[in-house]
Amino acid sequence: MNPLLAQFLAEANDLLASVDAGLLQLERDPGDPELVNQVFRAAHTFKGSSGLFDFPELTRLTHAAEDLLEAVRGGRLPLDSAMADDLLATFDLIRGWLAHVTTHERLPSGAGTDAAGLITRLRAPLGGEPRAAVQASSTGGITTIGGAPDWLAWFDAEWLTATASWLDITSSTMRFVRYVPEADCFFRAEDPIHLVRQVPALDRLGIVQPATWPEPGEYDEYVCLLSFVIATRAAIGELEHLFRYVPEQVQIVELDAGAITRHVSGEPPLKAEERVTVVVAEVRDSEQAADARAVLHAARRTFELHPVEGAHLRSVARAVSAAARALGVPKDLTDADQPRVREAVDFLLAEATPAPLGAAPAATAVPITPAEPAEPAEPAEPAEAAEAEPSGRADEHGGQVGTRVLKVDQEKVDRLMELVGELNVAKNGLTFLADAAEEEFGSRVLSRRIKDQYAGLHRIAEELQSGVMDIRMLPISVAFGRFPRLVRDLSRRLGKTVELHTEGDDTMADKDVIEALVDPLVHLVRNSLDHGIETAEQRQAAGKNPAARLTLAAVADGDAVLVEVSDDGRGVDPERVRRTAYEKGLISEDQRESLSDSEAIDLVFRPGFSTAEEISDLSGRGVGMDAVRASVEKLGGTVTMRSKLGQGASTRLRLPLSMAVTQVMVVSVAGQRFGIPVDLVVETVRVPAAEMGRVLHQDVVVLRGDVVPVLDLARLLEMPSRDEGADRAILVVTVNGQRAGLIVEQFHREVDVILKPMEGLLAYADEFSGTALLGDGLVLLVLNMKEVLGLAARTA
């Protein structure tokens, strides 16, 4: 027998003896309070100990006896002989049970029925069954209020606004706690900070200091003067449990985006003297203020030098607004004219930011400074960080101990990258010079020497470029960081159980790529939670683990990064996709028959497609998978989806590691040069005109047994095409998994270019993805192959 049970049985014997004796004496002398107390305590101890074992009937029976005795002890009920009989019968029954327990280690099988009648009789004088125990264990006096309380103003408005917009996106709520410890709480061994440290899922903490401190001479160190404001994602139940010993000192509110927004817009801002009494912990506050002052000084100097207008004025206004936000005096300067911006600068410098004594103004205030060691950097979205912080610190990494880390202005890195691009362009110029040396001046030797020089320069430029790109690299965890919360919030809302796993968090990619990745990923994850993953019941019915698994994985693949969102949900039904696409007129009846399953699944990326029969309020907000594909392709990437019906789906994004430099192959058509992204190029071939074939009005060429459709690029671009000549130069490309040959006039070299978006007159021309400056000063138009081939499909 387990020693605890043996101990219980031994103790029970003593207790039973003392109860019997006590009850018999009580019948004779019902007024003796010490006797009542003795019997009560025995019953109480019995109940307490019985709970340690799996004897629910014993616990319920002793509980009823204890309640009756408690009433007698408190003088609410006089003990009569009927009650004494019931109590004696109760302890007799228990004695019998315990004999059974001694041999069998469990209660006799009829215990429940035997107990029921006695429990009813014991409870009868008390007015029947007690109220459900749930009530006793519920809130216990913690005040929970509905609307936004005044004390929300301890949080800064900017953070509240950002939080509100997040809550809006996720349609979720956040809990806010106001904890005002009692002045004498230390004498109950309460340590408010220690309690606050245990708040689960703490989002923000404000330690509120008293408006006026006592004089040091009168200070009583054992009077608690601090109080707290807390924002957390923990459930109300968790918070009530944590604060259960101090309910009267705590207020909890649950607020949604609307309530916070109303608070932010409706309440007057904090007065200056109140502001100093709270410091909502923000590690970089004062540094940020120094940066903000520097921005303001720079803006003032700019205005002093020359008039500022147009785009320049707008960018100055943006910088000033950001500085104002950083200083806690938000100013909206959208579309402000120069005098207004200038006025704002003067106001901020004069009123809001008395520079600390000895602080140097302007230029010297923002040198590159050694970073402080690894502050617990918030996993801030880089885009927001860059916008909110005037001097841009999106590249901030936590510094390792022992390494000197520089905080560098993001703009400086961008400038460096531009220079690398220009160096590449200048370097490419050498190859033209080499060609010219040979063709125009007939000096093969000079050409060779120029090419050697080029090779050396090329190597250095490449290293420089990768060095600069390294600075811009961020781990993909920056993008993944927001998903635990998104998944948690959404899955709670949908009532699904989802485990999020991430792999390859430390895979590095350019910050622009990472920033651009967030939106498509958010969409894919939402989509998966909303449509892919089933409810726990559906999963169980399908024989799956009730908790679904959602995986975000990243891996570097040469010059690209692969990011995959996969789930083990219901997967995509290709048949249903075919039907929907057909019904929506996206495919013909023939295609409906002939499309393979994987081709069918790809249809979900078509504009106007949505498999969800009812548009859900989560992912059905007007963006579909087509938007995901469009935004990824805009980055020069691709999206593909694989699915196994009933087993899950995975969507893979393939993105260039860096968007800064693109390798293009230069070809010429009708005497004009065009660039084609090298990623798409499979091979270049020359095919004798005689070997060209024609199938169903389509020129084709047979390459290693495969029939590849061939298009005349000149004709596609509506330029004069020249068919003469014995050979055809064909550039074979793959777009959306389909191969096509393009007839061009001449192949040139591959060059690295900085792709600039189309501007001005050409901006409407979808068949070009951008322009690039070549080494010989010519502007190269880079083709958007998807559009070009799309043109072909439309014109064919």
């Binding site: 003795q38 109940k47 109950r188 061994a189 440290r197």
Partner: protein
């Protein structure tokens, strides 16, 4: 070493709590009722935490709490009351006497160790 003093008249409850605490690496001092516990505190036993039953012979838990706060070095020691669900009123009384919090019987290992972690900073 962290010392926990258990004040409890039920030998079964004492044994159960003691075994949980010992397994978790705490030093345990026991007392069968409030007066015995006060005597031990008077003799220089200095627990880091006290867990006391409410209903005990000789001296109940609430009186004990009030008295213990006057003992040397016990001003700020966390004191937890062992209560039952029906002891709501006792909890307020106990807090006014200087108790830090309470446990609801039967007390399992998770509940006991969780509360100790909550009230004793040993991070």
């Amino acid at each position: 070493m962290t010392t926990v003093m258990l004040v409890e008249d039920s030998a079964t409850m004492l044994m159960s709590l003691q075994s949980i605490l010992t397994k978790a690496g705490y030093d345990v001092e026991t007392a069968g009722h409030g007066q015995e516990a006060l005597d031990k505190l008077g003799k220089g036993v200095k627990p880091n935490l006290i867990i006391s039953d409410v209903n005990m012979p000789q001296m109940d838990g609430i009186t004990f709490t009030r008295e213990a706060r006057k003992a040397p070095g016990m001003r700020f020691t966390p004191i937890l009351m062992l209560t039952t669900e029906s002891d709501q009123a006792k909890r307020t009384e106990a807090k006014n006497a200087g108790a830090t919090g309470w446990l609801v019987k039967p007390v399992g290992p998770d509940q006991l160790l969780g509360v100790i972690k909550q009230v004793l900073p040993e991070i």
